[in-house]
Each structure stands twice: as C-alpha cells, then as structure tokens.
Amino acid sequence: MKLLQLSPADLRERLRNTGIWLRTGPFSLHVQSRVESVAKGLTDLYGQFEVRDAREAFADFHVAVNPPSSLRSWLRPQVKFSFDGVEPFKPLPLDQAYPMLEWGLNWCISSHAHHYLIIHAAVVEKNGLAAILPAPPGSGKSTLTAGLVLSGWRLLSDELTLIDRKTGLIHALPRPVSLKNESIPLIRAFSPDAFINRASHDTAKGTVAHMRPPKASVRRQHEPARPGWVIFPKWTAGATTELQPRSKAQTFMFLARNAFNYSLIGAEGFRVGTALIEQAACYDFRYSQLDEAIAVFDRLAEAPALDRPGN
C-alpha cells in the first residue's frame, strides 16, 4: 500500500500511536510522531512510498520526532529526534520538526549503513548511468539536482550516494530533495510541476524546504545504477556554462575525503572507490542558468560512451 492511500486521519492516528513502517530505497523505517508538521510533511512528500504492515515489518531504523517532556518546551516549543531511545542531537524549535526528521534519517543511514561506501553527494541517473554530484554547501548542488530530476533525470539521492561494496553499483534512496534559501523560489519558478513543502525558517542551514521526489524515481527505487560521471557543480552568478575535464586522481581524493565511512571500511574503501573512478568520467562544471546546465547534462547522457576524458 502507498502512503497516499491512507486517509489523513488514519495516517495521523497511526503516526501518533504505533508509528508507520515505510520503505525508502534499501532501508525500512519506522517513524512515530505526535507533531502535526511531521504528519503533514510525510503526507505531502512521501505519498508514493510503500507503507508496510506492522505485522510483517522489520525496521532498520526506529525513529521518532516529538516534543521533549520538559518545562522549558512549554515556554518555547521544541522537538527532539530520537533514534530508538537515543537522542543524537539537541532539540530544535518546533518549526523545524520536519527537516529534523530528514536530517535525523540521513544521520542514521550515514553512521550505520557501512555495507555501502557512502559519499556525501547528490546522485541522479539517466539511460542507466549515474551522475555523482559531490560539492560543498553553497555550490548549487541541490538546485541542480532538483532541476535535473524535474527534467527527466531519475533521483537516486540528494545527499547520500550509496555504493554497494560488492557490486560497485549505486543504490537509490529517492527521499525528498532538500532546498535552501534562494533555491526554493528558483525551483518553484523553474517548474510548475514541482511540489515544495512549507519552509522552515532560521534553521542551521537558513530557510529549508523539501521537494517531493518524482513518482517515477520512487517507483524505480529498487533499481541500482552504474556510475557514469563524477561532476563538481559550481553555481557562479553570470558565468557561462562550462564543462571541464578534471583529474581522476584528484577526484578520487575528494570523494575519499567526503565519504562518511571511507576509512572505516579500510582497504575495501580504496578498492570500491578506485573501481568507481575508473568507470566514471570526471568534470568540473560551472553554470549560472539552470536550463543551460540541464542541456549539458542531457548531452552527456545521450553520448555516454563518447568523449570520456582519461587520466
């Protein structure tokens, strides 16, 4: 059953009491919350995801977002994220309950799922090949990811690139795309099809909202993809669109540094990382216009075998 098949009242009832069991990519989640904005966020963004019956459910992560039971929260409403009774973060203002759930889930996955090499990068797919977009905050990675998945690319993940240690394939985790500050109006203007939920203000990352993942990406969430490109996007005001090959060795070093668990998985991390780099064409990408950027990606996807820089 899909989440959207539950009536809003039923969903809230379940969330408040037993919680709901959700499947996102390779992980099953059990989410419990009494907070209205969390119920609303899940209704708005997770409609296409499969909800499972408590009776058949094994959950990888049991999480909850609820108000703390302290006097202080009566004065200033807050919420806390709990991973099976453990609270890894300080409470946040009530207004940030939904983003806190998403951040908490990212933390659960990146700090436990060591059967993957996990790189801090967005990843999208077209014609069977994945484009990995590692980039520091502020590089326009999320904006580009949102633009691409609204233009026919499949969303694999906007934050966590999961590389199977045995097969080297990239597994999809098409949870909602996190958008910050100016990207929110930009993506709204870019596509009338985009659904973006209510923004939370004054978070650690500024104003944050989440975009609903495309239906097709969710439907194909169990389909892994082969690595095709590693592309470092950089949004620069007024820049002309420019795709420049970059050194594979440097790219490898960057990915290793930006992996959550590269050193943890030891020699195998090196093996998985080098195998990935060997298959992938590596580029630096500068852009200022989203539609031009997407056109460049589309051209890459149409001729994946051609024009692959070496070294």
């Binding site: 959950a59 799922a113 998985i265």
Partner: protein
C-alpha cells in the same frame, strides 16, 4: 532471580534460539544489541555456530556493518596504543594497557567484535604531570569538562580527566590505580603492576595478568556508576573466563588473587550475574568458596533486583517499572563505594542540581 527477558543475552546463552526467531524477534534483537554495543560481537558467534543462514536477509547488513566497524576499531586501537607508547617513551615508566585495548593487543578472544569509546592505560602515580604533558605534546588534552568535573577527576578520582586527541578525537583514560583512593576497597596497584605481562611484538607495553584483568573488569562493573554497556562488559568477562578457565588451576588462582587484592565481593557479584545472564561455566566449588564474600540475604536480594535490571541492554523493551530506580540505585551505590559520605553528599548534590544547568559534554 527472575530470568533474563532480553533477546541479546538469550542469543549469547543459546545461539540456536535464533532458528526460531520471527521477523519481529530479529527486529528487537538488533535494537537491543545495538544499544548494548553487541551486534559486532554477536555476528562472529552466529557465524561460528553455523547460523549465518538463519539471519534473515533484511537483518544481515546490520551484522556486516557492525563487524566492519569492529574490525576497523581493532586496527585503530593497535595503532593508537603504538602512538601512546611513542608519546610516553621518554618518561621511562612502565605502560600497562587495560580493558578492551588490552584484549586487542594481547589477541584475546575477548577482543572479538569489541567496540571502543576510549583506551585505558595504567601508569605509576609518581609523575602525573609528566605523563599529562607528554600526552599533550602528542596531541591529547582534556576537553569538554566543566571546572567542577576537572577538579573532581584530579582531586578525588584515580585518574586524569579523559584526554582527547585534537585531530583523531580518540580518548585516553589515564589511571593510576584501578579504584580511587577514596574507595572502600582500593587494591594496591603495585601488586597488579608486579605481575603484568609483556605483550609479544610490542616492546614496552604490558597487560595485566589473566586473573588480574578479570578482577579488574569485575571490579569496574560493580563500581561504575553508569552502566550503558553492562551486558557488553559481562560478555567481556565471559570470554575472558572461558579462555582462562580451560586451565584447571585457574579458578584457584583467581579466588586466591581476589582475596589478596580484597576484591572477592566484586568477583562474587560478577560470577553470580555471569551465570545468570550468560550461563558462564563457573564451577560450583568456586561459588561455594566465594560464599563467604557474599553480602547478607537482604542486601543480596536487593542487589539482584538492581543488577538484573541495570545489566540488561539499556533499551525500552528491556525496562520495567523499576528499571530507572534500579539505575539510580546503581549510580548512588557506585559513588557510595567510591567516596566517603562527606564527599559523596556534596558531589551528588552538585550532579543533581548544578551540573544539569551547566554545559558539560561528559559528566564525571
């Protein structure tokens, strides 16, 4: 004593029980084992018992990921111990590695799947400032403690405050004794040091003798206020005892040594709860010998009620109406044993009413 109800100790007592596990049982087993820090230790046990196929595919990655983490930590611990040795090399003092890190460098079965929060070392008390400054020079320094906690550690405890490495974030606990001077019982550390054994292939590094490391681990379990990993520590003891107990004379040496170090009461409790949770093979004759060290019946009944709760995994599914009271009781009892009343009351007062309002990442 009421039988243990948690699934983690059930699997350690009887691994074959997993063959009858439902999906719900696996879900709960992994949750409890994660909280107890024991997923990585359970995995090799299940493999060894030929139970790999019994693990449902949905649950498998949790074991594999935990094993990857444990393997990485073993390598890291060996390397860190080398760094500590290098940092202290100029001082010409004996360096004894304690607890988990000792099991790793001595290649004991108790290293299996062990996770680490810190590395414990024992150095002589005569030059704490030299030890601290040598470690600081190598990048370890005291962080994140309130002034109160700093004073508490330095003045009353048997250790420097925990030292964290600036770049690698590894934590060392430097001990000068295995229990504080203020404690009711404080075994002579010189006695422990005199029997320490050198580690093959790691010149300059020692670990405690087999009996002593068991007594140390047992003592810690029953003198530590907070027991987030009580069951993990019990499984350490279980593995240490099964390994050492293969030698017939071992048990006599253990009880004799406990007597010599005034640690028979701790050993009595440890063996009692090891039998309870993990079916550790302790000869009846040993329990009979230790009977003299047992507390009176009323105290023992109370201790059973406390420790059957606090040694279970710290997970909601293992808790009953008395669990939080039991944890508080264990906390107060540990402090009661560690310091006299005229220090204890102000300390607990500070912890209860002042510390919560200060930002203290790690409490004493």
């Amino acid at each position: 004593m009421r039988a243990p109800t948690d699934l983690v100790s059930l699997v350690f007592r009887n691994p074959d029980a997993v063959r009858r596990f439902s999906v719900d049982d696996w879900d709960l087993l992994i949750r409890q084992a994660r909280q107890a820090g024991l997923i990585g230790r359970m995995h090799p046990l299940l493999l060894q018992k030929g139970l790999a196929d019994a693990i449902p595919s949905a649950a498998r990655w949790h074991f594999e990921a935990a094993s990857a983490l444990a393997d990485k930590q073993q390598i890291a611990v060996r390397w860190e111990v080398g760094q500590i040795r290098a940092a202290l090399a100029g001082l010409n003092i004996p360096l004894i590695v304690l607890k988990g890190a000792a099991y790793v460098i001595a290649s004991l079965p108790a290293a299996r799947g062990r996770l680490f929060n810190d590395i414990d070392i024992l150095v002589p008390r005569n030059q704490p400032a030299a030890v601290e400054s040598a470690l600081m020079l190598a990048g370890w320094h005291a962080v994140g403690l309130s002034d109160y906690d700093q004073r508490y550690y330095r003045r009353w405890m048997h250790e420097l405050p925990p030292l964290q490495h600036v770049r690698r974030a590894t934590v060392i606990d430097v001990h000068h004794a295995i229990l504080p001077d203020t404690a009711r019982y404080h075994p002579d550390s010189a006695k422990l040091r005199s029997r320490a054994v050198a580690v093959d292939g790691l010149p300059g590094i020692h670990v405690l003798a087999a009996e002593d490391r068991i007594l140390h681990s047992a003592t810690h379990l029953f003198h530590d206020g907070e027991l987030p990993h009580g069951l993990r520590d019990l499984t350490d003891l279980d593995l240490l005892l099964r390994d050492a107990g293969a030698d017939r004379d071992f048990w006599l040496r253990l009880t004799t040594r406990a007597d010599e170090l005034q640690l028979t009461r701790s050993l009595f409790y440890a063996l009692r709860y090891l039998r309870h949770f993990l079916d550790t093979p302790v000869p009846d004759s040993v329990m009979a010998t230790l009977d003299a060290a047992a507390p009176n019946r009323v105290t023992l009944a109370l201790m059973d009620r406390i420790f059957t709760r606090v040694l279970a995994p710290d997970h909601a599914s293992c808790a009953d109406a008395f669990t939080s009271a039991a944890r508080l009781a264990a906390f107060v009892r540990a402090h009661w044993l560690r310091m006299p009343v005229h220090l204890l009351i102000p300390h607990l007062f500070h912890k209860a009413f002042i510390s919560p309002y200060q930002r203290t990442p790690k409490a004493a």
